[in-house]
Symmetry: D2
Subunit: 338 residues, 4 copies
Amino acid sequence: MRLFRNDYSELAHPRIIEALRRYQDEQNDPYGLDYHSKNAEKKILEIFHSQKGKVFFIAGGTQTNVLFISSCLKHYEGVIACDSGHINVHETAALEGQGYKIITVKGKDGKLYPQDIERVIRYYDNEHMVKPRMVYISNSTEIGTIYSRQELIDLYEICKQNNLIFFIDGARLGSALTSKTNDVEPALMGEVCDAFYVGGTKNGLMLGEALVINNPILQENYRYHIKNKGAMLAKGYLVGIEFEEAFKDNLYFDIAKTTNEMADYLKDGFKKLGLETLESPTNQVFLITTKDKAHKLMDRYGCEKWEDLNEKMIIRFVTSFLTKKEDIDELLSYISSL
Amino acid sequence: MRLFRNDYSELAHPRIIEALRRYQDEQNDPYGLDYHSKNAEKKILEIFHSQKGKVFFIAGGTQTNVLFISSCLKHYEGVIACDSGHINVHETAALEGQGYKIITVKGKDGKLYPQDIERVIRYYDNEHMVKPRMVYISNSTEIGTIYSRQELIDLYEICKQNNLIFFIDGARLGSALTSKTNDVEPALMGEVCDAFYVGGTKNGLMLGEALVINNPILQENYRYHIKNKGAMLAKGYLVGIEFEEAFKDNLYFDIAKTTNEMADYLKDGFKKLGLETLESPTNQVFLITTKDKAHKLMDRYGCEKWEDLNEKMIIRFVTSFLTKKEDIDELLSYISSL
Amino acid sequence: MRLFRNDYSELAHPRIIEALRRYQDEQNDPYGLDYHSKNAEKKILEIFHSQKGKVFFIAGGTQTNVLFISSCLKHYEGVIACDSGHINVHETAALEGQGYKIITVKGKDGKLYPQDIERVIRYYDNEHMVKPRMVYISNSTEIGTIYSRQELIDLYEICKQNNLIFFIDGARLGSALTSKTNDVEPALMGEVCDAFYVGGTKNGLMLGEALVINNPILQENYRYHIKNKGAMLAKGYLVGIEFEEAFKDNLYFDIAKTTNEMADYLKDGFKKLGLETLESPTNQVFLITTKDKAHKLMDRYGCEKWEDLNEKMIIRFVTSFLTKKEDIDELLSYISSL
Amino acid sequence: MRLFRNDYSELAHPRIIEALRRYQDEQNDPYGLDYHSKNAEKKILEIFHSQKGKVFFIAGGTQTNVLFISSCLKHYEGVIACDSGHINVHETAALEGQGYKIITVKGKDGKLYPQDIERVIRYYDNEHMVKPRMVYISNSTEIGTIYSRQELIDLYEICKQNNLIFFIDGARLGSALTSKTNDVEPALMGEVCDAFYVGGTKNGLMLGEALVINNPILQENYRYHIKNKGAMLAKGYLVGIEFEEAFKDNLYFDIAKTTNEMADYLKDGFKKLGLETLESPTNQVFLITTKDKAHKLMDRYGCEKWEDLNEKMIIRFVTSFLTKKEDIDELLSYISSL
């Protein structure tokens, strides 16, 4: 029986492990200066069409967020984010711990809109308040929604008008860009923001995120910054090898697509059983059910409580690159039996 | 031809890669709460005889140093270290970047002695100066020397007398404890300091260091602290699996022993050729040679310049778990030909 | 014509200046170790009934808040505050700049209630979220309201039950404790919280706040902490002299009372003119008026815009120790003429 | 009997107190936006010939150092200073507490030289080490020595060649510029560094330092930065009034000159008594004497122990704007009697 707790319960896709085995004896330059990292960087810049970009491979998502945001802001400057944003809720004050304030806005469906940003700029207008300097979103969002092409373009536009840096957290970028309702081509990413990252950990890699800084001004002395924050891996080629493999033959997007298909299959299954779900076009599936059933499902499938809703509860199922139809069928049949 | 640049040029020992392959499909609890990490912790506490200790697996060495030191100090407190110490010279101000001052002392042969600590305590005696609160050493040291059993006991004693926390950086602990001149048994480590770490990255693991906090008072809310510093890996079981394997059948110490034997073989070879080296009983070998030869050797073998000595130069060779006698013979024969 | 911009537009009460003049030639111990500071401390501990307390004199309010909060929290711990709280809105991210997250709640009338705190504790319940560790309120609040005796007692109770430190910002404590509707005697302050401060800057002193730490555990090495944060004044006796004078013959509370009386006189005046105000029992007076009149008043009297209300606007008038009835009469007569 | 402990034992010069009294009732714009601060700024820029400079008034010296240095550096960048420098020894890790590393060099007579800087730049040459970005000196230095005109010019030259910011701590700038051996005219200060400060606290003001940032690039958003560090005084005009007065009729330099003259008188007195002193042309006087006499003098005159010298000791006497010849005569006569 397979758990549906999250998309990082399994170590890595077999091809990733195989690539590591292939190079286990090879001597490589340390600290990410090896040829695997260079190959992976080149491929990523190509696919995401980042013409003047640079890529930095980082071990984890929270670390990547903190690294990039802290490299851009002065301590009197703040980053605008949804109050449901990962950096605000689920990183144990990692960003504030480094000295930076998050300016939270309500947003809608886990997403930020130009008018949210305009409202912040009007309000934070004097030197006794933090100075807005960056906009942070994630795609897909904390609640599995995605941004459209036009929405990203509009956000970048409002950012440029107001001298704000635009950063996209892509911990689940694969899932966003391969969703059935997505209209963002990968090549837009290199042009529609100052920086973004391509999440590996939640998309079948063992560990690692590829931070792409499109804006050359923001790349300066970046390796110094990474080292200063304790985030430079001695064996940086480890992550280089993973991403090199992930962007061969479209593996990265194939993993994401499969994961999404399994999530769709699960949503369809819930629907056929007459169960209620939240709208979410990616690999996080939110089921609304009674507290009693919710607890049984959490105990058995490791899925997590998302929110209490009076007598009901929202619980989250996540599919991964290893989820199979049989696993879902088993889950659905168990639910029917409740 | 094999390079002698450092002990982290190769990805990992074959048994480590094999262990990862073995568990690639297994679903594990995230964030280091899995059974592999628990097994590895248990084994490590046993071997190093840490009776009330806890183990935390961290991705890299600089991160481990910063994490532990920052968890112990208030910002007005400082850590005493050799001026040649890794935290002082080779971490791009990572510790100061988190808000903590290093109190440097000269030391001798890369090592700290009780009288160094006493001198610091006498000097930093009022509220306009940083307050000494911790002693940091590494074993083996930056220049490959090691501490004796009695030296460690004496340092801990002086620390306890002065309310100082004693922390041992063990990035190359394996090499230290398996050196021919070593008299520190692993079981001493759990009793002779407040915390230490067992280095994986430089001892045949892909990545990861095992931080052992012997002193229960210093363990409080540690997982919050790790997350706050962006150092909690989603797939923490990755490092758990590595250390579980490393402490099966003595693999960890076997790797270190082999590495040291190769270093000894290299030192002997230098000696036979009438070449001068620095005293170093571990896997870093320091050769004193002419600038001309030094540059040729650095170009060919990736070894690093350590220090200029008037017309001569000290260069560093490091052996790893993959260094073979043939590699060394080839190197020695090349030197003869110069 | 007198401005109503704020209560720190005038340098100091004549008796404060006179005290400084009196001691201008006297040689004093530096860094707050002088006898004036000791006298002032003794008097403050007596009046506010802080039996094991210590007093630290700090130059300004933001600095005092940051100092105290940063001395209590680990970087993974957060402080609960009203979203309208001074530390959240009007300190240019000073607290986050030092590495600490504010957990904001809506509150009511600028005030926090036990149920707000309980809600936070239930929600922030795991290591991926910041850990609540302190409650921050101000009395009077940002919008001039005050806490009752019972409300403070209830807040402290809930704090103690949940291992939270309770800190009261008293930038305008004088005005709160001398308000007509106040039922908090000064002697309660020493018993109802872990720390609070007695604001000088906004109550007729030239500069300086008296931080009173009731809880002995939180006093440890405090002078080191102050110096580390750059907040130790070489001529600390300057603030000591001011507070020594302020707590002779009840001057501190007399200033506050006069200031409140002028505010009441102003509120009465507005009422007689049929103008609408917000409920506020201290020296901040909030007038709701048309945008047109608001702008005229702001131009002429330096009062500040507080909030837009559709076609209307809330503007803030503040009385000080120098405000006279004539000044208010002049203002009221000007308004009548609009 | 007058103490010789330091130059901040007395509150302020009578003219400073008188100025404060003069304006005690005046309503002023808060936060340093008042006309006194503007007048003082204008005068200071004129005297020190800072053509594009801006002046920011800060409460104390440690705060000013931390503020300016932290506004210039990224956390991976370091500031070069003498190991005897105030920021390194006597500020309780205030700078490191904000996240910045000090690169210490030995220097000579408390002073830094171009070759010291060149040596640092050669050594700190890669991304695993902190990146040198600023040079910090003080004039006069911690041990009372001063820089010559040419020395300052040479230091600035080497800084510009190496993209280093040059900052001069002027806590005792008055004493330096009025020393008998000084050849630096005030007008050089605006041209020979990126920033410096004009110390008030140790030169007869009640509190306050005037930070002059000559380099326009380093002025950006400076008021935000000050507020973020908790260093913006609500009644900023307080310091404005002091400096306005200090730079009327040359008061600032008159105070410094008198102070130096008294120090010279003291040094002459020591000499006549056959006592040994260190070379120091400003208002700190260092006497070398037996331990026994040293302790008697410290007990009676509050002077401080500077350093142990085998059987002897160096103790420091400091003259202030209130030191009189009679005070010195009394001291000398006491010494004769020992």
